[in-house]
Symmetry: C2
Subunit: 393 residues, 2 copies
């Protein structure tokens, strides 16, 4: 009968790339829950609880805390298009793909872009942010990536808010890869707008972008002079659906919201501190294992992410050949490098459900098997043994 497509039967994968990460069976089951309408009283209760759970994960009391009905990049766009108007000045910190993307969006909004830059793989220096702010007449916001998925760099944020607020600007943070995997303290750190994606350390399928706006950012939104350029991402309308008014805007993606709800419940059950500690330990074990076979982390020392390990590919080793072998022989997905790092690095993600000792030992074992074929000598068992020592404490 059917001729255009075969039955849906994708292979089994261990997802150790830059996302999506593995999804807990409870979340998969939530996805298959029969639907209710987007204005059903039962769904409205789910929305209210989702807001509470997101406030917990973001560590915030912000009222405007909701999932945008699209993937993480739409969360980025939502924050920028709602806060910026044509002619505004925005400082964007650029040291990887996602800072570059923010800069692109700022320009599409008709705002004036001022960059604070660092080489890919290194953190942004707050002094450079201060210098960029001084170039502005009246800066509207500073946007920065917490966990640069393209480079594996972990940007410290604690010092930034005083600097940004003193200049009268808002602090916008990309927490797509960090949220749920390492500390993100929206209120304590003075973050005004923060967005994430569901498919990284929240371990929910991709499709929603949690965001949160501080009262200060919400006030900037409320007092805009022009309409938000995107109708779909216009928070002045979306907040009326998530708020008491329940005004229809677009049909919420019910099943994705079910999945996020269950994923967030799992995080609450585990506890944020224990979850962060799990991500840290698995990162340390992976790093020790990689070091034992001579593989280094490409990101700046002291600023290496727990959930995304950017690994320098040794000279002479073919990027694609190794990744293909991992995928085809072991069912393991790892990521290649992006942009200028293509062919230079692998990106091994240990995010959410994927951050497990079993996965660390598996990927190290697999690398021990695969690397020698590219002429890269490895002492069998060395990587796994080094990781085991970390777990043994």
């Amino acid at each position: 009968m059917t001729s255009l497509a075969e039955p849906l039967q994708p292979p089994s994968r261990v997802l150790l790339g830059p996302g999506p990460s593995n999804v807990h069976p409870r979340v998969l089951r939530a996805m298959s829950t029969p639907l209710v309408g987007h204005l059903d009283p039962a769904f409205l209760r789910i929305m209210d609880a989702t807001r509470r759970l997101l406030q917990f994960v973001f560590q915030t009391r912000n009222e405007l805390t909701i999932p945008i009905s699209a993937t993480g990049s739409a969360g980025m766009e939502a924050c920028l298009v709602n806060l910026l108007e044509p002619g505004d000045e925005a400082v964007v910190c650029v040291n990887g793909v996602f800072g570059t993307r923010m800069a692109d969006i700022v320009e599409r909004c008709g705002a004036t872009l001022v960059r604070a830059e660092a080489p890919w793989g290194r953190v942004i220096d707050p002094a450079d942010v201060a210098a960029a702010l001084r170039q502005c007449r009246r800066p509207k916001l500073v946007a920065i990536v917490h966990a640069e998925t393209s480079t594996g760099v972990w940007q410290p944020l604690e010092e930034l808010a005083p600097l940004v607020h003193a200049a009268g600007a808002l602090l916008v943070v990309d927490a797509v890869t960090s949220l749920g995997g390492c500390p993100v303290h929206v209120d304590e750190w003075g973050i005004d707008a923060c967005y994430s994606g569901t498919q990284k350390c929240l371990s929910c399928p991709p499709g929603l972008a949690p965001i949160t706006f501080s009262p200060r950012a919400a006030e900037v939104l409320r007092t805009r002079r022009s309409k938000v350029v995107s109708w779909y991402l216009d928070l002045t309308m979306i907040q009326k659906y998530w708020g008491a008014e329940r005004v229809y805007h677009h049909t919420a993606p019910i099943s994705m919201n079910y999945a996020l709800y269950e994923a967030l419940r799992l995080i609450e059950e585990e506890g944020l501190e224990l979850r962060w500690a799990r991500h840290e330990q698995n990162h340390r074990a992976l790093k020790a294992g990689l070091a034992a076979i001579g593989l280094g982390i490409a990101a700046q020392e002291q600023h290496q992410l727990w959930m995304l390990n950017s690994v320098t590919i040794p000279a002479g080793v073919e990027d694609a050949r190794v990744r293909t072998a991992l995928l085809e022989e072991f069912g393991i997905e790892i990521g290649g490098g992006l942009g200028p790092l293509k062919g230079q690095t692998w990106r091994i993600g240990l995010m959410g459900e994927s951050s497990q000792a079993a996965n660390v030992l598996l990927v190290l074992s697999a690398l021990e098997r695969v690397l020698p074929r590219s002429g890269y000598a490895v002492e069998a068992g060395a990587a796994v043994a080094a990781a085991q020592r970390v777990y043994a404490g």
Copy 2:
């Protein structure tokens, strides 16, 4: 342990509102399939097959035929922001909520809006489109809604393309509610850009927006002078992920794509003509049943949608009381009126999986039970009997 949210256990509903519609168990099961990465060879094959299935459903050979990674309204925005540039002139046909929404988006794009209007509940007259085109110096596009979900009006499209093309403009069609439930012939009707949503007659959960661009529309996209205002919806980049290049843009919502794939396979198995006939028959049965108890369809005669029945609420009957009783006692969701029709109409959807004789008989039985409580006398069994006569042929 968990304190912020109770377990996920929404009630069972029969979804007879304006969408989402009921989802087939095979589609629900597809949603819970473990994930692969968005660049996994297995996922790339699913993408290619999805394109073929969408071409079949849209009845088109357009190469640029893909699901946008957000809900139907984002499909609307994607078509308009990719085709319009600041200063362009656009004719928008407005006779309900969704035409109004298109007009809003056109203005946010910085384009000049010219309206062709009809009263809510009536179709747009092609002569009014011609008149609107004559007001333009150089019209870029004409946008029109095929199935106005807010009013239940079915807009004929066959005459429009020659008119629109003669003026040098593109024909943009909203098929959110029509696709999969009644004929939509993109190529034959000369449609240049068409978008839909997954949660109506495709009977997939909400979360994706299938779109298709004709070669002519693709050429307009290719020769833009300015960047698309939305990064997330920028088809110049998205088409490189769906095309041979496989360039990363955003992380595709894997599970939603699984669901769409399975929903489209079900449509191919049923066959488009049989599926349309099913929608027609269930509409006729519902209409006959409603007429037997004195309830009329609010949309213009001869232009009433099969999948969305806008029912005039009889004088004295309280809108909310009836809908609440249907939901709480029978688990049936129907929709209320939107905008000026709030409190004036109900919207009974018979879309995709929800378009079943069993559901028609159920909602008629339930109305027979509920309406008398508002003082509206109903002859018991009259509505159901009238519907049964339609099914008996």
